[in-house]
Symmetry: C2
Subunit: 483 residues, 2 copies
């Protein structure tokens, strides 16, 4: 069944919620989630429901739903599994049109749980109520500061949205999104997907103007045909990065007792993802790495790559990786070579990768601009942006300590990154940066990576950078065929 | 040609060195490398050579080699490329038997450079002198505090040794080895390998008692037959983790102008690596991740894996990954299930992965011991070792802040890790831990990861842990066939 945009909008941005299972016991989820919600400064009204309490966390408690002064947009449900059915009845009676069931203990536990889940679903559908979960770890809608999740996580506003059947993965991803300096628009842990499926959320996110990139973890499709139909529409407008769990018998078995998902055969999934334009990833790391590139880079218009490197080995690894995946290491024209000659020592290799032979600082903007302005190159990977040790040392009257070298490397990196961003924006071609200065503390770099993440997402290894670049190219190829 | 153990021993642990190209100009490598060497408190004598200086960095300078009071074990050579031939002549005349040529600008620049390199090699061979490089970024022999490298890097003593044709990669690897809390025995950037090849170093490291695991980056083999012959011998005794660059035409082209390597066809390399028992990796990340497992874990005696997880999604991903690579997700016997029932809630899934349903702290040692003591299980991956949020919250009188939750999670992690190590040691089966608590600061975990790295190397993602475990299994399978 299709759900209207408005209904889902109220799930991510309810104007008011009833909170079933609210408690004053701080070792229960009913307290922790409510506390998280309050700490997030949720914009709407919160009505905790508990027959035995007067006040929880400073908020007035209602003994039951019937007593509420208004009909809330959504019910957040964290009562024991056996009580969920009655709660849904009460919600329907009150006219509540959406429910988030955080309670677990349904289809993922087998036949008996499946029956309970089916009964809940039937009741909700008859009552015109949509459900998220059960077995969800929560929802976030950042625009209304709706941080309604089990772990206390407060990502900043941003253009990533998350749909995950696993609450565990949703938490891991959003924890790492925070650590990497990225931001979120919507987050939903869809759990067992009794009612609303991954595809319903994808459809909603297609229209959410704050969502630019969708990250998703799925273990199984409740309605594969509809999923791929919708995913195909969404993927024309926004990249969907998807990690598929449960694609081996052992993994599928684990998934069944995790979110009650029935997984599909891997080869079918692979083909279907490709056809739908879904960017398949195989690790959490890829999901995060690629999302950073999609959020911060324009798509390449072709598959010819330029590589600028501070060291030979990194350049070789990136050339290998990208070539294996169908990219072309751009041939440098005579004109481009002649221009580069002005800024590089006589013994430079005059080929792509452009090896800066240990010297980059103060020239990277020149080199980068020559390559970006070439019609033979569709995008760039820069490996190392700190300047070499000799150049760093030459800023001092005597040789600085390793820590001091590390400090000035960070400084140079920050300056060069500014130039890179300006040129990238001007030429509107993707420029991916990886940097891993071996000397000194890494914290300085991490801070800059974080600060600039939504503007230009940086990597620490050549493979991360290359894989993210390849993902951009694949999506561009899906959208407008650049082979 | 084979080189005696003693000759190579003197390369990693010279009793005295002549330093050709020493200078008082702090923006030259001749100053920086010498400074790095001094800062490392090298155990042996250092004789800087420079006709125009009296003293450099507080050390007496000699105008030429002939003036030295003894014949040094090795010459470190950082003079311009055109001067190297004469320097080698002087070394041979002085009776020096080993040279490290850091100077670049030889075979990697083409035919003219190759000729120069050949001339140097001929002269050295006639004079009974072995050479490292040219185009090396240096050598470390930690036992004699011989830190003779271009970047100022001071890894602690440990059981990893590095052989890398790329100085860039050698620096990246050793920088990250430091950051991850691991340690090094020997490090050599073999550069163009005019004389000593990767296989010579492998052969030496086979006998180095401090070396337990060898990390290597190669772009090409100068003598493939001999390489594989030696690698096969070494791999029976010590794991060789190897990253091969230049295995695509574009990468090979880059490699040629980088270390003058001629790369082999990828499929041949793959088969040859397998036959020789070399563990092939494809990324810097894998090289580091696997080395941590090999340094800190016993090898599994079979391919049956137990998984303990704090969250369903992580367990699914690890089951998928390991199954795809031929491992068996161990079937839990009735006896094992009954034992586990005592420590897990009634609704636990009674299957492997053992999902701790959000509750682990205070039980992980029980669960782990039950699985480790089972004859049906050869090793364990633990996903999440902090305890769940409910358990952490229950330690407080009221709900702690996210930061405080993060802090106590770190504390619990450290305690549980101790128990894991004890049980792992007692049962002598590999136990790999991944942990990524989404709330609070990561620094606390990073410190523990670092501190324990050589004892038990921990990971932050399920894939890292699974891939490292698979690498252990593959090597065990090569050594004694555990399929």
């Amino acid at each position: 069944m299709t759900h209207s945009k408005d209904r889902l909008k109220r799930i991510f941005s309810p104007r008011s919620i009833a909170f079933l299972g609210a408690t004053n016991n701080h070792t229960k989820w009913g307290y922790i989630v409510l506390s998280n919600l309050l700490n997030g400064d949720f914009h709407g009204n919160i009505y905790p429901i508990n027959p035995h309490e007067k006040e929880i966390l400073g908020i007035k408690v209602y003994s039951n739903l019937a007593k509420l002064p208004e009909t809330p947009d959504m019910a957040v449900i964290i009562v024991p599994p056996s009580a969920v059915l009655q709660v849904i009845k009460d919600c329907v009676d009150k006219g509540i049109k959406a429910g988030l069931i955080i309670t677990a203990g349904f289809a993922e536990l087998g036949d008996r749980g499946q029956e309970m889940q089916d009964a809940i679903l039937n009741l909700a559908r008859k009552g015109g109520m949509v459900l998220v979960g059960p077995n969800s770890n929560g929802i976030m809608g950042i625009s209304s500061q709706f941080y309604c999740t089990m772990p206390p996580l407060y990502p900043q506003p941003g253009n990533l949205s998350l749909v995950s059947q696993s609450g565990n993965l949703a938490a891991t991803l959003s924890g790492n999104i925070i650590k990497r300096g990225l931001g979120i628009s919507c987050y939903v842990s869809s759990g067992n997907e009794a009612d609303l499926h991954t595809e319903d959320f994808l459809e909603y996110l297609m229209h959410d103007e704050n969502t630019k990139v969708i990250l998703s973890y799925v273990e199984g499709f409740k309605d594969g045909k509809r999923f791929f139909q919708i995913a195909k529409q969404v993927a024309r407008l926004k990249p969907i990065l998807m990690l598929k769990g449960g694609d081996t018998p052992a993994g599928a078995n684990a998934a069944k007792s995790h979110t009650a998902a029935v997984a599909g055969a891997d080869s079918i999934i692979e083909a279907a993802f490709k056809q739908a334009g879904i960017i398949r990833v195989h690790t959490i790391e890829e999901l995060l790495d690629y999302s950073g590139a999609f959020i911060s880079q324009p798509l390449p218009k072709g598959n010819r790559l330029g590589i600028i490197t501070l060291g030979g080995g990194w350049g070789v690894l990136v050339a290998d990786f990208c070539t294996r995946r169908g990219l072309k290491i751009a041939h440098l024209s005579k004109d481009t070579l002649n221009k580069l000659d002005k800024y590089l020592p006589s013994w430079w290799t005059r080929s792509n990768p452009v090896d800066m032979v240990g010297g980059m600082r103060g020239k990277v903007d020149k080199i980068l601009e020559i390559l970006l302005s070439s019609d033979d190159i569709d995008g760039i990977i820069i490996l190392g942006l700190t300047g070499g040790i000799l150049e760093l040392a030459s800023k001092y009257d005597s040789l600085p300590s390793g820590d001091e070298l590390g400090r000035v490397a960070v400084e140079n990196f920050a300056e060069s990154l500014k130039e890179v961003i300006e040129l990238r924006n001007y030429y509107n071609k993707p420029v991916i940066v990886a940097n891993n200065f071996p000397v000194g503390n890494v914290e300085g770099f991490e801070k800059i990576f974080q600060r600039e993440a939504q503007n230009i997402f940086c990597y620490t290894t050549p493979h991360q950078a290359a894989a993210a670049y390849v993902a951009l190219t694949r999506y561009a190829n899906y959208l407008y065929g650049i082979d």
